[in-house]
Symmetry: C2
Subunit: 154 residues, 2 copies
DNA sequence: TCATTGTTGACAGGGACCTGTCAACCACGT
DNA sequence: ACGTGGTTGACAGGTCCCTGTCAACAATGA
């Protein structure tokens, strides 16, 4: 039908699979995060803020999102009491997002539940397959992404 | 830090990579589809409708989406003239979505451009890595998805 | 010192997905 | 024949992401 090479065919299959799995993982993340009053998106933002006070624009860069998306999520996190904004001595406009004790608590609980879930679902897969999958996606990301997000050093 | 097994660790890395790559692929799809007046979502719906007249609920099942999402996308596709709704002799309420000549044209052009793009990006990857990646994601999807989407037989 | 340039948070508006709810419709068992 | 239950499209409302635009702010060079 379409003029796909073997590589093009395999890549296309991977693309469609990424779309499907992404939605399932996102939903699973929402279900994991819901008891803590969070969602996948808020959880991820909180995971960055957890490392230390940081302006919105920096969070966006780390996550590979736009400032606007992060701003919206951050406003909700603040309204729910998971983060607070404190003055930035280096920039009067760019205030720093800081995790609150409530936010830290939620992250701690979520960390435990995520670990249990990841061990359970990941345990049902072959280790080498998981690792090859990560490598494949990473290479594709590097091929597609003109400027990759900053390292989220753990 | 968190009590991750090796499997849990690899799985978590895969999850985060899926999130990042999904966004890049979605954006790339939008850019591919834009010249044809489509987007990634509309393109995918049109790809199902292309196989023959079908009600909205069936499209949703095939794609693993809700009827509501497909309905919205379908309304836009109809407004743009890519599909039309025709009476369903078997169900008065569930009218059939049918691709228009304009829709078929757009899909044909997009098919060629997608093939070129997939060959180019996929060609930069190792074939066995791509295939293992597909297998890994497929297995994860089957682990997560209680009722998998219908086959999109080509 | 001062104008230019780049970055920041904010605001408006839109796209694509979700859940919850409803009336219309079909199919099925009694 | 008829009610019951499941499915369908529609509508309301919400989340998470995007682009485009703007004024406030910082940093830089003339």
């Amino acid at each position: 039908m379409s003029a796909h090479t073997e590589h093009g065919d395999a890549f296309t299959a991977l693309v469609l699979e990424v779309f499907r799995v992404n939605r399932l993982l996102h939903d699973a993340g929402d279900q994991l995060a819901a008891p803590a009053g969070l969602s996948t998106a808020r959880w991820q933002v909180l995971g960055v803020v957890e490392h230390g006070p940081i302006p919105i624009a920096d969070v966006a860069r780390v996550m590979g999102l736009t400032r606007q998306s992060v701003r919206e999520t951050s406003a909700l996190l603040e309204a729910e009491g998971f983060v607070e904004f404190v003055d930035n001595p280096r920039h009067r406009r760019a205030r720093l997002m800081r995790i609150t004790p409530a936010g830290a608590d939620a992250m701690e609980r979520l960390g435990r539940e995520q670990a249990a879930w990841a061990n359970r679902v990941g345990g049902a897969q072959a280790l080498d397959e998981l690792r090859t999958g990560v490598r494949a996606l990473t290479r594709i990301r590097q091929t597609l992404d003109p400027d990759p997000p900053l390292a989220d050093s753990d």
